[in-house]
């Protein structure tokens, strides 16, 4: 097992070969905000919230998908990074409908929590906010695309852990949506096992259990003992 020494925000840290910068930072108690990342699932580097500065690289790198290397010098926090992270959250708020007051996930939402952490008080960007569908055809669950931030955690947990691959992404750009079974209504899906893992990993109020606000949905994951979400920490 090769151990690499690197510095994170000027402090020397040790990481094992194959570990990501994010893992080593969190082990060391350095918090880097994330949204699409979830321990136990593959990383896609999509939300860009966890980007860090690495000396010698002209580009910002996603800490969740960047492996540690010997002598790496990482900066996880700077004025520029904070501003960029805030803009990312602002863009997510501007993209679809995220009115917290009328959301099932109010106060139990990772998007809301990250916005608060980063001190985002208002949105300067013009909102896009298209009217999107709510698919409530499933017996127990529903998806409100207006709340979705395209983190693809549902896609990954369904594929990697449940092995059903009911969820996938359709369309591109702003028209990208998570879909069940090639775009069929969720209730008609022949692959969905009804396990509810997608509900458990959704960081916002996009995928939820019918008839229950997230606050009263007890987050128990006996079948996912190794999945730990930020929302757990938020609600704890």
């Amino acid at each position: 097992m090769t151990v690499h020494t690197l510095t994170i925000d000027g402090v020397e840290r040790a990481g094992v070969e194959g570990q990501t910068v994010l893992e080593v930072a969190r082990e060391s108690g350095v918090e880097i905000p994330t949204l699409c990342h979830l321990d136990g699932l593959c990383d896609v580097g999509a939300c860009r919230l966890c980007v860090v500065e690495v000396k010698g690289s002209s580009k910002l790198l996603p800490s969740c998908a960047t492996a540690v290397a010997e002598g790496m010098e990482v900066t996880t926090d700077s004025k520029r990074l904070t501003a960029y992270r805030r803009t990312i959250i602002e863009m997510l708020f501007a993209e679809r409908n995220h009115v917290c007051a009328v959301c099932v996930a109010n106060n139990h939402c990772e998007l809301q929590a990250r916005a608060a952490d980063l001190g985002l008080t208002h949105i300067e960007l013009d909102t896009v906010n298209p009217a999107l569908d709510v698919d409530a055809s499933h017996e127990r669950f529903a998806i409100d695309h207006n709340r979705c931030i395209m983190c693809t955690r549902c896609v990954r947990v369904c594929d990697e852990v449940e092995g059903a691959h009911t969820w996938d992404v359709m369309g591109r750009g702003l028209d990208a949506r998570v879909v069940t079974d090639l775009g069929m209504p969720w209730g008609e899906s022949t692959t969905c096992t009804g396990c509810g893992k997608c509900v458990q990993v959704c960081p916002t109020g996009a995928i939820f259990e019918k008839g229950r606000p997230i606050a009263t949905t007890k987050v128990t994951r006996p079948y996912l003992p190794y999945l730990k979400t930020n929302s757990q920490e938020v609600s704890a």
């Binding site: 896609v44 580097g45 999509a46 939300c47 860009r48 919230l49 980007v51 580009k59 910002l60 790198l61 996603p62 998908a65 960047t66 492996a67 520029r80 501003a83 960029y84 803009t87 990312i88 863009m91 997510l92 501007a94 993209e95 300067e124 960007l125 013009d126 896009v128 931030i149 395209m150 996938d168 992404v169 369309g171 591109r172 750009g173 702003l174 028209d175 990208a176």
Partner: protein, 563 residues
Amino acid sequence: MTDLVTTDGVPGAREADVDKPVRRSRRMTGPQVVGHARATAAVCQAAGCLSAQSDQVFEEITAQLIADGVTDVAVKRVGCLGLCAAGPLVEVPETGELFRQVSPDDVSDLVTRLKDAKPVETKPALEPFFSRQHRVVLENCGKVDPENIDDYVSRKGYRGLTRAVTELTPQQVIDEISKSGLRGRGGAGYPTGLKWATVAKQPSGEKYVVCNADEGDPGAFMDRSVLESDPYRVLEGMAIAAYAVGASHGYVYCRAEYPLAVQRLKAAIHRAEKAGYLGAAIAQSTFKFTVELRLGAGAFVCGEETALIASIQGGRGTPVPRPPFPAASGLRGKPTLINNVESFASVPVILREGGEAYAQVGVGKSRGTKVFALAGRIVNGGLIEVPLGIKLRDVIFDIGGGVPDGRKFKAVQTGGPSGGCIPEDLLDMSVDYESLLAAGSFMGSGGMIVMDDTSCMVDVARYFMDFCREESCGKCVPCRVGTTELHMMLTKITEGRATLADLVQLESVAAMVRDTSLCGLGQGAPNPVFSTLRYFRDEYLAHIVDHVCPAGVCALSGGESVA
């Protein structure tokens, strides 16, 4: 895929023809030539001229020559002759004549000229469009029949591959490429020799060579022309690369919007296999290499190498963070060499003539030649190849013939949606990777769109942002939402609804999108905004402060303020 190409690569034989009697080939041949042809009519059969019925021109000339019993004039299908704006083109190489805008309804003049054409000792002086060019990659374009492998071989084709596999070790091949100074012609300009060496260094086992033919920049058609005019050249370059890095299988990833290129590639792969230049025992050696064709389904982002790999694997064409780079872990997790069409097309010459000979041309760290597609407000629109280091002014005014209709040149856009606009003041700059970058633009794959004073630069920036917004895959937030937000801001400016605060916001969001996006599409998307702000800030201010579009393009709504 089957509706685009037939199994034997013969054009025209589609499903609708099933009922018709089977013919050996539907492809009409030229007149029967007895002995040595006194003159040849080389008829361009690339997409530009074909769209103006150059296939009928070919058939008409042939029919008239046969009817008149002429047996010493050949008629030949060739690839792109370059001067696309004046198509359909017919060249008579023996006399150096070039016939423009030949109509299939009226070829009698041309046929009369062909009948008494005599080879001349000294050909008429070429016009600057041709004389200022330096053709290396395009040496066969407009000379060879793109569907005839013997024609390619007769023009020194496959000498580079034969030399590589019979005389050189893979390391020597890589050294030759390194000596040539060739850099990635897809745009970023990464040293090709270094890339090959990285793939070659990976532990032996399954490796792949991939040709990126997913050309998607607006106004760019270099790769299409090369594939349509000289497909064997690209296959030869890929085979040499495969030998150098230790791969035995390759893919050409071509966009489906290029049906003619796909058809010719397919035919070329088939014929190269039959002739022993692909498949097992290439050039009587132990080296084997096979090539498969994959068609893109119309996504610009699939030109990004990791998205391209995902697409070849049958997945959704979305990029993944690098590292790991494809050279270490690419197609199916194996080391993969990805080069663009033009890079591969440069390789046969380097192996044939030597890397040092290739590096004779060029400037600084940019060696060799570059193919450009001239488009927009320019007299001689078409396909050109120039030595790197040539002055931009010479490209646009000598070769391109300047701006038509007596209008005033304003800017030239290079590098596609990730590129920038270069103003008149900088026309004396050298065309090379570093200079273009310093000028806030980008070499890119080689599109050059010339604009005159009827173009509004804010509108141009908005157009490219609209393109990126449409083509964003939607995976990462800064590109998915950021390009939309930037497009909304630019629209606001062109409609006269913006304030100076919006301009500040435009710049800060553009910087954020550039710095945080996952792949080159998002990172490059704000570039047209930065470059137009750098050189044409006054036009932005005219829209915002004076509510006037100096070029008269934008319909401004007037001075109402925006909430």
